[in-house]
Amino acid sequence: MTPAQISFSLQDYNNALATANNFDSTLKASAAAVNANYYPILALAARQVFARVEITVGKRADGSLNPDDTLAFLRADRTSAIEELYASAPFWLYVNPELLRLMLQPIVNEHKRIGTTAASGGTVLDLGGLSFFFLLAVRRTYHWQEPLILASLVIRGATICLSKVIHLATIFA
């Protein structure tokens, strides 16, 4: 499914409402299969995660918007932080894997962009330090091939995510 095919039928409030209600009922049914009390948390989390995604398009040379050049970003303290992408990945795989791909693409692009600089290597941690401004942080890395980039992203994302979860658990213990 190409970005241009992401259907945009929300041309009026009623359609948007019907689509939203449909999503909620599907989510509710999926949650009920796990546990009767799961849906409220899932519903809240879903809204939070959706609220953070920004689907963007680039511009053509003539200034018009180009829907074929679509990238998405997860906006919070840090733009597209890899541990947040990792943590939210199961949700995107459930809702629409294309959105996850659109969010991973900028990170893969970033590795390609800075790939040939030398040294100790490492994966990009995020795409910027502030929510709304992309800082050109210099990160040292090898020239990664895409599968390696994704693999190392998963590992690093999982590690950071796990360390955050453990940290939270110690706070609430």
């Binding site: 992401i6 945009f8 929300l10 041309q11 009026d12 409030y13 009623n14 359609n15 948007a16 409402l17 019907a18 209600n21 920004e54 689907i55 963007t56 398009v57 680039g58 511009k59 918007l65 180009n66 829907p67 679509t70 990238l71 970003f73 906006r75 733009t79 900028p106 692009n109 970033e110 390609k112 962009r113 795409l127 502030l130 929510s131 709304f132 401004f133 992309f134 050109l136």
Partner: protein, 178 residues
């Protein structure tokens, strides 16, 4: 028969400003065909700048369909409320004094006069939104580029988007309230 008047104030300033004592806001009210909207924002927007975790550019929108009994106004929040309380009718002024957000708290008012209501009316739809263009600045492998929201590819401009979202909603008899 007693009539019930309801007044719902919405605090909208956080949509456009992170520091209400420093930011000067401007606004524009457009009444066009079948809908009316207030468009409000900062006089000097700062692209990609945050203050207190809130964005310092972009425009807020508050809109509703132009039906019977709809009126709109911009005025200082306190003045709007006073007019409504003392006269029972909403104000219809257009405030033109662009000023600091917390100087009198300019209000973007929209109201419906439901007259004598004896049963549930059709739902009243208000649109409240914020739009930033560009959305994000992104360093691609080839260039530093400004990127815009995907939904803008579906509409000619933000006004079209607001209207499209609004009008079918208010004219559709099968509006599902669930």
């Amino acid at each position: 028969m007693a009539t019930l008047r309801i007044h719902l104030p919405l605090h909208l300033t956080e949509l456009i400003s992170g520091d209400t004592s420093k930011d000067v806001m401007t606004w524009k009210t457009t009444s066009k065909g079948d809908f009316v909207y207030h468009e409000f924002g900062l006089q000097t927007p700062q692209q990609f700048v945050e203050s207190n975790f809130r964005i310092e550019y972009g425009l807020g929108y508050h809109a509703t369909a132009l039906k019977d009994g709809v009126s709109f106004a911009t005025c200082a929040s306190y003045t709007c409320r006073k007019t409504f309380e003392t006269t029972g009718a909403p104000p219809t002024t257009q405030d033109v004094n662009f000023r600091l957000v917390d100087d009198g708290f300019p209000a973007m008012a929209l109201s419906y006069d439901l007259k004598s209501v004896t049963q549930s009316t059709e739902p009243l739809v208000f649109i409240l939104g914020q739009s930033r263009d560009p959305l994000i600045q992104y360093q691609s492998p080839t260039s530093l580029e400004d990127r815009s929201a995907f939904f803008l590819t579906q509409f000619a401009n933000i006004e079209d988007a607001v209207r499209s979202f609004l009008i079918r909603a208010t004219n559709n008899d099968d509006y599902d309230r669930s």
